[in-house]
């Protein structure tokens, strides 16, 4: 992972960068927003972490400039404020996600990973998690090089879960995805489908969690 971190508080920038580097990520740090649009063009970053409250050109304006030059780089905004207005303003100026200070490192990293993964899927249709790879055009899943046999329903469900990796997907949303799925079919039928799918993909270092009463969530056992 190659991250550009824009944060004016030197201590927070250093601590966050150190935490990312400890996981083998490459991190560049900038204390101001001005050089960011150029850096984004010059270097091949996977994601931009942008503090809203920057001196001079603030985070929102920096983001606008980055987007104005046609970049789709995933952007996660950091802010010390958490009013709804801020959230709306951040997302409206083109941020992909939003995190309020003081954040926990694992959450920041998980959000960034999810952002990058979704971005990659949008870019080249590749869905991967742990050893699991899903080819959207061929509608086939692989663990390493070995093909995994999935039913049509299982592959629809898996594709959607992988697109939403790290997020809870509601049961009724999954049920709506499956063609010819009897709306009256019980939650048990869906749970049966999920438990079969779970058996097929968990050898790939992937965990398919059931969130009681709500839905399902897919995640890597060992975060990269």
């Amino acid at each position: 992972m190659n991250i550009l971190l824009v944060e004016d508080d030197a201590a927070l920038a250093e601590a966050t960068a150190t935490a990312m580097r400890a996981r083998g990520w490459r991190v560049d740090v900038s204390a101001t927003g001005e050089p960011v649009p150029r850096s984004v063009q010059q270097d091949d970053y996977d994601a931009l972490v942008l503090d809203i409250g920057l001196p001079g050109v603030d985070g929102l304006e920096t983001l606008r400039r980055v987007r104005a030059q046609g970049s789709y780089l995933p952007v996660l905004m950091l802010t010390a404020r958490d009013g709804v207005e801020d959230r709306v303003a951040g997302l409206e100026s083109g941020a992909d996600d939003y995190l309020v200070k003081p954040f926990a490192v694992p959450e920041l990293l998980a959000r960034l990973r999810a952002l990058v993964r979704r971005h990659e899927f949008r870019r080249d249709g590749a869905l991967a998690l742990g050893q699991l790879r899903f080819d959207s055009s061929a509608r086939r899943a692989f663990i390493g090089e070995a093909s995994v046999h999935l039913t049509a329903r299982e592959s629809v469900v898996l594709e959607y879960l992988l697109q939403q990796v790290g997020r809870i997907v509601a049961r009724d949303k999954l049920a709506a995805l499956i063609p010819d799925w009897n709306a009256a079919a019980s939650d048990n039928a869906l749970e049966l489908l999920m438990s079969r799918l779970r058996g097929k993909i968990e050898p790939a270092g992937v965990r398919l969690r059931t969130v009681r009463g709500l839905g399902y969530l897919i995640e890597a056992v060992e975060p990269a």
Binding site: D9, T18, G83, P102, F103, I168, R212
Partner: protein, 465 residues
């Protein structure tokens, strides 16, 4: 109100002044009416006697010093004719000899000059009478004076007096009673806006310092009410400034707290000497706690800020969607704490502020995660239930002893067994936000007497979209 007895009452003061004045003025008024009504009546009766006297005067005849009263029996009868009273008369010559009429009457004669009249009440034969005395010249010299006396019993006069008295009393009462009633009514009526303004002031809370409506308040009290409103305004400004300060302070704390949180977590994650572990853990715990406290202080300031502004619009919010949308935020912390977080969500529409309701729900769930302990099962329930909407967060952890539950909604109050990174603000925020939404929060035992169940009961949205 026991103090009302000792405190001066505007209403009583007004009545104390008004009622004695009425008590004095009403009899005076009655007396005046009595006199005004009686005098013409009595005058008219006297005039009838005068007429009889004048008729008798015409009858007196005199030659030289000798006066006579040539009167026929018919004339005398006509003169004495009276429907109600008895009339008697007497005419005497200058020497006091009776010329005609009733002799007994002459004893009542008074010396008068010629042409003079006298009217007075007298008693004749034990009976009260009205007596007219008139002196007329009856001879060549002016000193020769005949006296005419006409007396009438006073039945008509007594009747006139009674009628006048009755009229006066009734008239005065007809005036006084409505006046007294109207006075009481007017005082009460004038004070009613003051009372309602007082009720309004009494219902104000620090979170809701609305200006009091001064429309309809009497101008005498309006100045006081305006001063009250100005005071409320200053209070509101001061309260808002205090909340802004809390929000700013919490806000400024966030970046340094973020540094502490990141550094402490990283130090713990890196290889470190075993002897440093307890200190690092404490540092990490303190950073987590401080972070949460800052977050909650902001939430509290925001909730109170919204409460201060009564014009803030509310919207229909489905608690089911609110819970489902936020589930992602809670899942990781619950998994980290070794807990099973589950949901049982039915549509549950309420009217309110989505941000605040999200804060309420988040605090309840985070509270359960913080205190239910490893292995616990936490369930979030939303449902519409018998004309109200319920939001229940239940766990099967250690629970809270009955005697400590009442204090749960208080700020900085934590259960005695409470461990972990709680600030003691979470449930205070919950009760604050619940109150703003007209909701109640109940702390109960969970299923089978285990754990804690927090039940928030909200009024349902009137028109679910």
């Amino acid at each position: 109100m026991s103090s009302a007895a000792r405190q001066p009452s505007l209403q009583r003061t007004l009545l104390l002044w008004l009622l004695p004045a009425l008590a004095l003025l009403v009899p005076l008024g009655a007396l005046l009416i009595y006199r005004i009504a009686l005098i013409p009546a009595l005058d008219a009766l006297d005039r009838a006697l005068t007429d009889t006297t004048v008729a008798l005067e015409q009858l007196i005849d005199w030659q030289g010093d000798r006066a006579t009263l040539p009167i026929s029996a018919q004339t005398e009868q006509a003169l004495r004719a009276n429907l109600v009273d008895k009339t008697v008369f007497a005419v005497t010559d200058p020497d006091g000899r009776l010329l005609g009429g009733t002799a007994a009457l002459t004893a009542l004669a008074q010396p008068l000059a010629a042409g003079q009249w006298d009217y007075h009440d007298a008693v004749l034969g034990g009976e009260p009478v009205r007596l007219v005395t008139h002196a007329v010249a009856c001879g060549a010299s002016p000193e020769r004076i005949c006296t005419i006396l006409v007396a009438e019993t006073r039945t008509k006069r007594a009747a006139a007096r009674r009628a006048a008295l009755l009229g006066a009393v009734l008239g005065a009462l007809a005036l006084a009673l409505p006046l007294a009633g109207l006075a009481v009514l007017a005082v009460r009526r004038a004070l009613r806006p003051v009372e309602s303004a007082a009720t309004e002031v009494a219902s104000l809370t620090p979170e809701r310092l609305r200006a009091v409506d001064t429309r309809g308040v009497p101008s005498e009290v309006a100045g006081f009410m305006r001063a009250t409103n100005q005071l409320l305004d200053r209070l509101r400004t001061a309260a808002a400034a205090q909340r802004t300060f809390v929000a700013d302070a919490a806000h400024q704390l966030r970046t340094p707290l973020a540094v502490m949180r990141v550094e402490a977590a990283e130090l713990l994650a890196q290889p470190h000497p075993e002897t440093m572990k307890p200190a690092l853990k404490r540092l990490h715990g303190a950073a987590e706690r401080g972070s949460r406290l800052a977050q909650q202080l902001l939430a509290l300031a925001r909730a109170e800020g919204m409460g201060i502004d009564p014009t803030l619009p509310t919207e229909a919010v489905d608690l089911r969607a609110l819970a489902a949308d936020n589930a992602d935020l809670w899942l990781l912390p619950a998994l980290d704490a070794g807990q099973d977080l589950g949901f049982d969500l039915q549509p549950a529409w309420v009217r309110g502020h989505p941000v605040l309701l999200g804060e309420l729900l988040g605090n309840l769930v985070q509270n359960a995660i913080a205190y239910a302990g490893p292995g616990a099962s936490i369930t979030v329930v939303t449902r519409a239930h018998e004309g109200s909407v319920e939001l229940v967060v239940e766990d099967d952890g250690p629970g809270v002893p009955l005697e400590e539950r009442a204090g749960l909604g208080r700020r900085f109050q934590r259960g005695r067994q409470a461990q972990g990174s709680g600030s003691g603000l979470g449930l205070a925020i919950v009760t604050d936000i619940a109150r703003l939404h007209g909701a109640t929060v109940a702390f109960e035992s969970g299923e089978g007497g285990r754990g804690l169940r927090v039940r928030t009961t909200l009024p349902p949205a009137k028109t679910p979209p």
